[in-house]
């Protein structure tokens, strides 16, 4: 399936995904969008895991299993985050991150 595609291409894709995620996390104000950005970051890491596993140690499966774990944990994290976001919405009537600034000096 991936015969003929060099490793660098995958890495370029994952790097682009990672920085898109970081930029999204920093720039977007909407908490749901930020959550989506985090998912992008996580998935870029997943790609790296799988690709390195496949290219460097084709006879082993640790990288792939690790990415499965990350998918699972990302699901749990998303559920917790969405619960928080719902609570924030109930309290503030919006989900703009700039309004969540109570915790400071």
């Amino acid at each position: 399936m991936i015969q003929g595609i060099p490793l660098e291409h995958f890495l370029i894709v994952s790097t682009i995904m990672f920085f898109l995620g970081v930029c999204g996390f920093i720039i977007r104000r909407n908490l749901i969008t930020m959550l989506m950005a985090i998912e992008l970051i996580l998935n870029s890491v997943n790609i790296n895991f799988v690709v390195f596993n496949r290219y460097l140690y084709p006879d082993q499966l640790q990288g792939q299993f690790f990415s499965l774990f990350i998918v699972g944990i990302a699901a749990a994290e998303a559920s917790v985050a969405i619960a928080l976001i719902i609570n924030i919405y109930r309290k503030l009537q919006n989900i703009d991150v700039e309004n969540v600034n109570e915790l400071k000096f």
């Binding site: 996390f25 920093i26 720039i27 700039e98 969540v100 600034n101 109570e102 400071k104 000096f105």
Partner: protein, 639 residues
Amino acid sequence: MTGYTYTVFIILIPLVMFLVTGLLGMKWRPIVSGLLGTIGMGTSWALSLMTAGSYFFGGAHHAEGFQSIIPFELTWLRFTETLIIKMGILLDPISVMMLVVITTISFMVHLYSLGYMHGEKGFQRFYAFLSLFTFSMLGLVIATNIFQMYIFWELVGVSSFLLIGFYYQKPSAVSASKKAFIVTRFADLGFLIGILILSFVTGTFDFAKLTEPGTAIFGSAASMSFMGISAMTWAMTLIFIGGAGKSAMFPLHIWLPDAMEGPTPVSALIHAATMVVAGVFLVARMFPVIHFQAPAAQEIIGYVGGFTSLFAAVIAITQYDIKRVLAFSTLSQLGYMMLALGVSGYGGEEGLGYMASMFHLFTHAMFKALLFLGAGSIIHAVHSNYMYDMGGLRKYLPITHITFLIACLTIAGVPFLSGFFSKDEILVAALHHNKILFAVEFIVAGLTAFYMFRLYFSVFWGKDRHYHHTPHESPLVMTIPLMFLAVASIFAGYIPFHHLVTSDKIGFATEMNYMVAVPSVLIGLFGIAMAWILYKKESDVPAKLAKSWGILYTATYNKFYWDEIYLFVTRKIIFNYISRPIAWFDRHIIDGFMVGIGLVTEKVSYQIKGMQSGQLQHYAFMFVAGTLALALSMIYFLM
């Protein structure tokens, strides 16, 4: 050797009394503490007399003299194999004699204070401190090694401090106690350094090893020197400075007159009879070492003693506070004792000065304690310390009058009283060794007679003053000690000291030297006669005389401005040029550094606290930026 184990109780009883009256005294009626202390002291006294009796007259008269006995010794601190500090009891002629002196005077003072301190606030505290003092003083004289002596030496200093400051609500008493403590503590620094040098050279603290004749432990000392002066001379001079501080030798004498702020019985016990002779005792204890290893130090001791005795006698003439007259008289007599040690040789007839010094110590303790207790009785009756508030008291205070007169005659050296014998021995010793010191002491003998009788006549004779209420004789509990001490003052001179207390512990024969005795009695009588003429009747002759001396009189009256000199040196020079810069350095550099760290931290955190905005995305940005910066710098520096 054994059989003296009970001497442990002589010292333990006062300690127990101190703890009991000190801790529980406030729960009882005051008189209970007083009685307990007095009874305990009486027991110690009886035990001391028993010790002295069996030691001096117990039959064990060897040809080689009295033995040093150590009935009890325990190892207290074992630091290394060679550095061991012991606690023990050493009985030899001088320590047994001191036991008798201390317990006698202390018992008399305990008894006397039952009357004198009656109804005072802090009666229990007073007795607790008296017991503490007696304990430490006894521990000092029976010390088997110089380190134990140093420990008790400091304890004595502390109890003296506590007792001088007994009236702690009186500012003058507080400052006097501080002065006494600081001056003696300052001198003790010398003592400590001396001990360290001595033990470094000899490798031992034990008196038994140090004072053994012909001992070899000083072998290594000869090669050591510092600034051209041998190590032993340094050690002995420094130890003598410690002794001079305690014995109030010039120029460390300034604390003793002020110490008279304490209650009068305390002055009698501590500042006349016992503590102030600790310095003399120390020199006597180290005498073989000083004499053989550090003759230069012995010279110093002699001259310091001689100068102090003259200096103090001159000041005593002009003072009006009776306790201060007595204080300066004490200084003068202590000078005598030091001088006698300074001119003494070792062994047999040569050791006359040593014997005379101890003899005078003994008799002086009796008559000076009597003088102070008598002065206390007078103050008790008149409620003033000043001679010009007194006069014609002989009618009101008959017992005090007679006993005081006996004491004055004794100190003036009138024949057949104890002071005559001991002073005479000192003069003979001085004549044999140093003519200048003999001349000084000869003059001082006359001055002593004069100022004592000046005191006596102006208090008991002269014009009758108007007293607020008629002075009355003190109660029996106060006059019994006076009478006892008067008897002791008369007869103490007949104790054959030249057989009992000598430099090499072997007795020698001595006889009256009329070439010295007759002139010294004559000058004493001359002094008495002068006082009789000037002060027997109230007249303005003394005032006119004082005026004719002009500036000399003023200087003497102000104790030659030594207090002012000390104040000048400490305040103007030491405080201004040493303490202030050090304080400045501490406050600005050391403290400033620490304060600066705190201040910088606070300022910086104030500046950067705005970074914690509560904005999640700021944090994320900083985090990412930081990570990138780290990553880039690692790539830059490591690649």
